[in-house]
């Protein structure tokens, strides 16, 4: 056999390999998005099949947002990440060098195709009369919230409480710290993720109030026995913007860059936005937002940028090792 024939045979094998690959995406997400992406994956798989003829298998992995980001940095081959906050995706760019630093500019709305906020879930009749953040810091109240070191939702919870206290105490940081410290003294269990905290509160019957993603609270109402829980909307909360990104290094290596990008872009489509609204996330599109407006209460929402100067700063000040949260919580 001549060398040219051998090389041609190798090329043929390589080509056959390329055509034989099955398209599989791994979406690494945070805790409460299971139901959202189960719905969405079905829709996108159908859309992709009709568009390209390719069969697509989408796998989901869920956990605390920070822990999920760590797993991806450590090698979990995520084609896309749909995490609870931009800081966790930033970590993939900064620590893992898995995607460019300006990843947030690649998709509309700073790569946050839907939003949510933080509310309280209490037991039927609100036996402790909990109405606002003040009530959660009172002695004897049992508060359920996950660990901000591992959970993105927990960080939103913490920052919403911080934002409230900042306003209440006119920026007096010492008093704010005291308030937050009192609140976390009331937390008997720190789960690693938001879904774990929902389990603690709803299924294990622990605590008087669950600080929760709005969508998770709605889901708990939907899934639990009729009338077991109520949602309490605090006077002030935070605009939570879960962000999405395709992981360039992984997607390029796996040859899934095109479909990974399309997967996230389709979140902004009419169908994607409708699925978000149906799963209790606040859609970005005016059409879907109008359709689901009635289910979402009007709340005074602060933003991460205006109160904390963005995620990078908030992360560094509050949640980095030795940060404010550590100072507060380790005292307990």
């Amino acid at each position: 056999m001549k060398p040219s024939l051998y090389l041609a045979a190798l090329a043929l094998i390589a080509t056959a390999g390329a055509s034989a690959k099955s398209i599989e995406l791994l979406n690494v997400s945070y805790d409460p998005t299971r139901e959202l992406y189960q719905d969405y994956n079905t829709a996108f798989t159908n859309y992709w099949k009709s568009k390209t003829g390719d069969d697509l298998v989408i796998r989901q992995a869920h956990g605390g947002s920070g822990a999920q980001a760590r797993s991806v940095i450590d090698g979990l081959p995520a084609d896309v990440v749909t995490l609870a906050l931009a800081a966790d995706v930033d970590a993939l760019a900064r620590v893992g060098k898995l995607l460019p630093a300006d990843w947030q500019k690649r998709l509309p709305d700073n790569s946050a195709p839907y939003t949510s906020t933080i509310v309280f879930l209490v037991r039927k009749g609100n036996p402790r009369g909990l109405k606002d953040w003040d009530d959660l810091a009172k002695p004897g109240v049992s508060v359920i919230t996950p660990n901000p070191k591992t959970s993105g939702g927990a960080r939103w919870n913490y920052l919403a409480a911080w934002g409230y206290a900042l306003k209440k105490f006119n920026g007096d940081e010492a008093k704010v710290k005291e308030f937050i410290s009192a609140l976390y003294r009331n937390v008997p269990v720190l789960d690693s993720g938001a879904r774990g905290s929902t389990t603690t509160f709803v299924k294990r019957g622990i605590g008087d109030v669950l600080i929760s993603w709005e969508n998770e609270a709605f889901l708990a109402l939907k899934d639990s026995d009729a009338g077991s829980f109520e949602i309490v909307v605090p006077s002030l909360s935070i605009l939570a913007e879960p962000t999405v990104a395709w992981v360039d290094k992984v997607a390029q290596r796996k040859g899934t860059a095109e479909v990974a990008k399309a997967y996230l872009e389709y979140l902004y489509s009419d169908e994607g936005q409708d699925i978000a609204g149906r799963n209790f996330y606040r859609p970005r599109s005016a059409k879907a937002a109008a359709k689901y407006a009635a289910r979402f209460p009007q709340i005074d929402l602060i933003t991460i940028d205006e109160i904390f100067g963005g995620w990078t700063k908030a992360q560094q000040v509050h949640f980095a090792d030795g940060g404010v949260f550590d100072q507060i919580y380790l005292k307990h």
């Binding site: 056999m1 051998y6 094998i13 390999g17 034989a20 049992s142 008997p188 269990v189 605590g207």
Partner: protein, 463 residues
């Protein structure tokens, strides 16, 4: 009447309790009850919290266990694997100690022996799920330790896996089966005609829902029954291929479900400075044919081997035919001739203890354990095989006086699977030799003067 005061007392007490006669006393009782309820609620919450914390700890421990490296020692060897199983290294071994005794061969041939047939250390591994390696070294034999297999693999999908390096050429059927699990101690004489281990690149895979297995590749090319010496500097290479189908694999209940049929072959050009083969051997591993030392290969060579396998519960059957074609010269300048040697075999096994017969050996339901009164598994086997040398080989390419031109072999075997790891084999072989018409009445080679009658036992450890 004697009970009247007691009845009156009870009546009086109930009247007192049912009125506000002692309101302070009742309020205190209510407070106590409320306090007790609150205490119970608090204790209940504390208990729930403790339980939940333990639950979280357990979940974290389970998650940590999933990601922790794993070490396993099983009947398949030692395995070291990463928590996600993406990376693993496996160490295996194979040791075979044989005894060979030959009967009725005149007694003048020093061929009875205990033989360390194989002593192999096998390491295999996978990295990032896709990339694999295999390294098989053999410490048996009289020479220095040898590397039998050394290859790297890329597993793109079940339908396409690539292998680079040194590995078994995919020509033949019994040849491809593991040394540990053939029906007999030694492969049949049909395997004399297929190339052994070679160097090159091979694509293989399973398609059509597992019903068709294929291999195709480019190899250096080695003569019959020969293993590459790890380097072969020449311009001509061999193409090899094999398809093996199980067309009734999905037909549950069909008597043909266990039938597989296939064909394998290779094609290339050989130009060598030395003899075509080191020799064809009997079941007793004695050489009954070899080309003259001056013979060289020069020209096209090819093999074709139709083959079939059937398994049904404890019954197993394999059959193959091999046609080996080579162009040779009696010396570097002699006239070229094309020779075709042919061989076939049919071998069957039956597991007396009822376990399934399998390409990967028998897994006994119980291990041999005298204390427990269990005996492992027993299998009987029978084989018939024939190898015919091309008449044109004599006398120019091989001496009719010192070589047989045909060997016909009958084998009977008993295999005792002490466990999946330990095996004892007892085989009896009888090989009848045929000779070219130019051969003398009595062969010049002593072992060919009578049928070969060999009893070969084996103690094997394979993990």
């Amino acid at each position: 009447m004697r009970n009247l005061p007691a009845i009156l007392r009870a009546f009086f007490l109930s009247a007192v309790l049912s009125t506000n006669f002692f309101p302070v006393l009742r309020a205190d009782a209510n407070d106590d009850i409320q306090a007790l309820r609150a205490q119970i609620d608090q204790l209940d919450q504390k208990l729930r919290i403790l339980e939940r914390k333990q639950e979280i700890k357990d979940e974290e421990a389970a998650a940590a266990a999933k990601s922790a490296p794993k070490i396993a020692l099983t009947d398949k060897g030692f395995t070291f694997a990463s928590g996600d199983n993406a990376n693993s290294v496996k160490i295996r071994g194979l040791v075979q100690l044989d005894s060979r005794f030959f009967f009725n061969d005149g007694g003048g041939i020093a061929n009875n022996a205990f033989v360390l047939r194989r002593a192999r250390l096998i390491s295999e591994g996978t990295f990032a799920k896709l990339y694999s390696f295999q390294l098989v070294t053999d410490f048996a034999g009289t020479g220095t330790p040898s590397i039998l297999d050394a290859n790297l693999g890329i597993s793109l999908s079940p339908a396409l896996q690539l292998k680079f390096g040194k590995f078994k050429s995919p020509v033949g059927l019994e040849w491809l089966q593991s040394d540990s699990w053939t029906f007999f101690n030694e492969r049949s004489i049909a395997t004399d005609l297929v190339p052994n281990r070679d160097l090159g690149v091979l694509a293989s895979g399973t398609v059509l829902g597992g019903a068709l297995n294929y291999s195709a590749g480019v190899l250096n090319g080695v003569p019959d029954a020969t293993t590459s010496n790890n380097a072969d500097f020449k311009n001509d290479k061999n193409v090899v291929g094999r398809v093996f189908a199980a067309p009734f694999r999905g037909s549950a209940g069909s008597p043909l479900q266990g039938l597989s049929i296939g064909v394998s072959g290779d094609l290339g050009r050989e130009k060598t400075a030395s003899g075509r083969t080191a020799g064809y051997k009997t079941d007793g591993q004695q050489t009954f044919f070899s080309y003259a030392s001056a013979v060289v290969a020069d020209g096209q060579s090819w093999h074709v081997s139709p083959q079939a396998e059937y398994r049904d519960g404890p019954f197993g059957l394999i059959g193959e035919y091999v046609l080996s074609t080579v162009n040779v010269r009696p010396s570097a300048t002699g006239a070229k001739a094309q020779l075709q040697n042919k061989a076939w075999q049919l071998a069957a096994g039956y597991v007396l203890t009822g376990e399934d017969s399998s390409y990967n050996g028998v897994t006994p339901r119980t291990n041999f354990d005298p204390a427990a009164g269990t005996w492992g598994a027993f299998e009987i086997a029978a084989r018939y095989a024939d190898l015919k040398i091309d008449d044109a080989a004599f006398p120019l390419f091989a001496s009719a006086a010192t070589n047989a031109d045909e060997a016909t072999s009958l084998g009977l075997g008993l295999n005792w699977y002490l466990s999946k790891v330990a095996l004892v084999k007892l085989d009896y072989y009888q090989t009848k030799f045929g000779f070219n018409r130019a051969a003398p009445a009595v062969s010049a080679t002593q072992i060919l003067r009578q049928d070969e009658k060999a009893l070969i036992t084996r103690f094997q450890l394979s993990f």
